[in-house]
Symmetry: D2
Subunit: 357 residues, 4 copies
């Protein structure tokens, strides 16, 4: 279950404190020139250690490509990219105290005593680094097909950024937002969010938020009933990203307060004979299949579970009720780092559906 996709298959491996992490991508079209600078920039959007909003654990996150790449282009055979773990402090981790909100307990129950518990092991958010690499490769392929993906932080607690207009979204907006250290549309809103994060940090607490992501230029007709809807594919990928606990497409939960008359997106043919909808409440998806309008969705990211405050828990060895204080280097918020992860997941999902034909 560490493999995802039908045509663009990603096979993820690695633990937070092992020798290395990485991904094998099977099914990349051959002859794609990889823009290594772009890929590097994407990796940096996720990388930790850049400011006081994130964990001070600093990792180069340099990807080495072992295969499937020749003369600057993909060959069409599996592309393996690996990342060495360099900055690990395993002594920060205790084997038998189960951190609340983390996968320590469930990981032990599933994998047994030989589970690599250090730093969350295979459950660590660090494993999203190879996902971002695969996503950057997918974006690179999608760009040649005229498909663009971007995102912004929609909210942190009750601080909200301006929302996307579901009908008219400009890809230049994505370039502007993704170049920012803190990816919001309105920097004043961003300032409020950062203050909330720093406050949480000072209180040894953490916060979450909502990321809104859009995919532009998706061809009409991708996604497949009954079980391969665009929503199914994207959500299945999104819930692989640690800390994501909700997703909605277009109007999502707001739909449940609307009438059919308000909710339906009426069709029209524009002057060029392209079929469009006046509104885009359905986020470019009807019956699970893309209709050519932007695909827009939001994901809920819960607060980082690693907090320094004392918490109640159990000691799995003694099976005693006890308390835990989590030290080490942690993120008071991961939402700003997670934006590129969400985009990457969307890129992989959309490319897979396009290649499925």
């Amino acid at each position: 279950m560490n493999i995802w996709g039908n045509k663009f298959k990603v096979s993820i491996f690695g633990e937070s404190h092992g020798n290395g992490i990485g991904v094998v991508i099977d099914g990349i079209p051959g002859g794609i020139e990889l823009d290594m600078e772009f890929i590097e920039r994407e990796m940096q959007r996720r990388a930790p250690g850049k400011n006081n909003l994130s964990t001070p654990r600093s990792e180069a996150d340099k990807v080495e490509i072992l295969s499937g790449f020749f003369d600057g282009k993909t060959t069409g055979t599996p592309l393996c990219g690996i990342i060495r773990n360099t900055n690990t402090r395993s002594k920060d981790y205790n084997k038998s105290l189960m951190r609340p909100g983390h996968a320590d307990f469930t990981g032990f129950m599933r994998y047994g005593k030989c589970h690599d518990y250090r730093g969350g092991g295979h459950f660590s958010g660090r494993i999203t680094a190879p996902l971002v690499f695969a996503g950057a490769v997918a974006k690179n392929v999608l760009r040649e097909k005229g498909v663009y993906i971007g995102s912004h932080i929609k909210s942190i607690c009750d601080a909200e950024d301006v929302g996307l207009d579901l009908v008219n979204i400009d890809k230049e907006l994505f370039d502007a937002v993704s170049a920012k250290e803190f990816p919001v549309i309105n920097d004043d809103c961003g300032k409020k969010m950062k203050d909330i994060i720093l406050k949480a940090r000072n209180e040894q607490n953490s916060v979450g938020g909502v990321i809104e992501c859009a995919v532009l230029g998706v061809p009409v007709g991708i996604g497949s009933p009954f079980f391969g809807s665009v929503e199914s594919k994207i959500s299945s990928m999104m819930f692989s990203v640690p800390a994501v606990k909700g997703i909605e497409f277009g109007k999502g939960f707001e739909f449940t307060k609307m009438t059919g008359k308000e909710a339906n997106d009426e069709f029209y043919a524009d002057e060029n004979g392209n079929v469009k909808t006046y509104t885009n409440n359905n986020a470019g998806i009807n019956g699970g299949i893309s209709n050519g309008m932007p695909i827009v969705f939001s994901v809920a990211v819960k607060p980082t579970p690693s907090i320094a405050q004392k918490q109640r828990t159990i000691d799995l060895e003694s099976m005693k009720n006890t308390e835990i204080e989590i030290h080490g280097r942690h993120d008071p918020c991961i939402v700003h780092r997670a934006a590129v992860v969400v985009e990457s997941g969307a890129a992989i999902a959309v490319l897979d559906m396009i290649l499925e034909g």
Copy 2:
């Protein structure tokens, strides 16, 4: 993409107005006694034509089992169940006018001119009947493992039912709710919801709502990182259900307003040495793996797109902008009929994960 699952595989087929619809289930454990009365009751919970809240199209929805069933028990080989379509009025459907909010346009773009457009064809909500059959079989198997699934309507527009207590849910509640014609916990709330639906019906309009579903008795340790999380599997199934546009697990989008301290579910060992959590914000799932607490999630169901009011659309043949009035027999709301569909999808997803081991 009409096949779902790794161990308990369901393969769905059929169109709204063809000869029949059905499902092949591959991977049912052998020797399971099927409770045909229970299965029949589940089918009836979804079946149309029972009251003025639903479409008057009346279908017997009687399942005939062709294989995999011998002497009252499953044999372990594929079980095929078919349902004949009997009450079809194809003349209600126009081939070239695209109904807003429906899959007419995307279906034509994906499948081409030979697409069976009648009644939504393969996209019809009618195709959820075999899903309910498969779900009832899954529930039957789960019951022997001590796993129970139930749901209620959480809201219709702004009328809300009382919510579930995430920590303490009683399976008897499910029996009570599922026996009701209108599945809510508090019937006064239900009365308000029904009024909203009838009002929409009278205005030739429609409404949606939220369904809350819970799975009790799930063993610790099901679900698999990185891509096979409990949330990924359930959401992938839920977004196959027509009209579902959002899903959240536990606190879901509310998580984004909480701090880590509030969000984390602290562990304790109860008097029997079972590990539990004081709260259950994470809906029984940590790191994508079940922790033994109830799995609770909500899905957003959009208003039925079939409304009799005049709407703008295109004529795909002439590619002219025009208007459409949808006649025929339609549901002013499908939320009450969809509850058992959501439960069925959850049953299939959870059983598949349990069998994956």
Copy 3:
């Protein structure tokens, strides 16, 4: 594991003595006109009860299409075809005596006591009827792509038919052979084979043989390393056919007596610039990928295990060593009926690879 294929997926169900058997085909291109007469003819090539070379159990093997078919054409959604079992005599079967060479013992061990043992249940050769239906549909699709499939009986015991010329095979030959009641190229050879079969029948014994199958017009470039070679896909399908115990492509086992110089198929460009090989020892496959020459393979079919002679076996209930005499209606040889099954499997495998692109 009753589902095969990546793009053209067949999902097989049914038992020899249950209500019915059938297949769901997911992934057929839409808009394909189905030649129902051709499909019916293919079904008849496999059907029993036609002469003294086969079992007298007579089955109409009439397929009813339930879905995915509209106005004489495929719709692109799953096509389900079902066949009723009509001529069953379950009293011929004993539950606890394990028939040698059959799956009685392994079936019980795998599926347990609730296994439908009657007539081999899900293991019965009867389950190849839906496979032939799916294969006929696949052939129908392949024909429009210029791909043709045929076969002949290469040998029964030591009676051999003339072999195919691996380089030059004419599709008219297939039409001629498949129209024969006994599918051989040279009818004198066929006469010898039939005598061997009748002799076995009279001696309450059975015989096997070799079927040689060829696929013409395969586009260059289908099949995928590392694990999706043309040979892997075809062999995986062939070993699903009951009684097949060996397969070889092109020179197959003869290769092991040749030198590289003899074995290599040298390339040339013909007058039209098409790349061809002078010889075709590799059966149109290099590195697991088709090179445009005919794909030719042979399968070994073992003697029918159902023989009336007394055999030693165990009684699974008492776990005593004992003897068995198998009565009922059985085939002294299934090779002539299996030819169309082998072709059908090849059609499904080749079409799946073509659709994978």
Copy 4:
């Protein structure tokens, strides 16, 4: 299609002359102590450059484990092993002359101009090195379940080793044979084979042969109808191994000369109440499911296509008919190196079926 397996999934990557090759194994049970010396020995059985029967290209084939391995044991998460390519001489390879019997032509047609043609690229026999690593890990796991796998060279041209007794096979025999530089049972037969190989080498030619492989201790009941038979799974894996062109199980093609009476393996219960068969013509498999007797199969390996003799071919750039002389370092025979590859493939296939349950 570079991924194989349902529960024990191997994902292969790499090219002969790229940075590295390797494999990700997803689904290894956790807590398995890996015997690194044994794994290293298996790698050496395949490694080139050891004597005059093989290519002088010398590769250390040292595997580095990046993930899924902690404190000497598997963790249950994906295990990635990589091997660096060190001894590459890419100048030996010409881009536009298609080597007969190789995948040059089909590779170009499938992957296009950006295909890494050097040394066969992804088609190279070198890619079997990570397969042997994965196979050694699988054997390590199987050993704990009492399952043992071995093989010997059955023939090179017309020189034959003594065959295995299908009923009684001793695992000690495997240890003895696998420790030999040239894996045969009878060394006199081996001497004849080696002479044939050296003669081919001196004549700038090559030869092939048959490898016979056996799996002992397989539990009763693995393999699944209809499409997951033991034969289907093993053959699908075997035809992924470059140069394999035929496979037969048990009596295989000999079955077609036998009668049912001779072919059927009669059952008996031994003194311990274990069900066995007097003969084992069916190679431990009935109806695609294991019956507990040894699984024995033979594969045909064609002569190495790389020969130094002049051969006719085309120049793909000019599309002219021309000639080619292949220089570089090649194997006059790969059968002795392929034995461990065949065992590895069998180990992966059998373990996958056991884990499928």
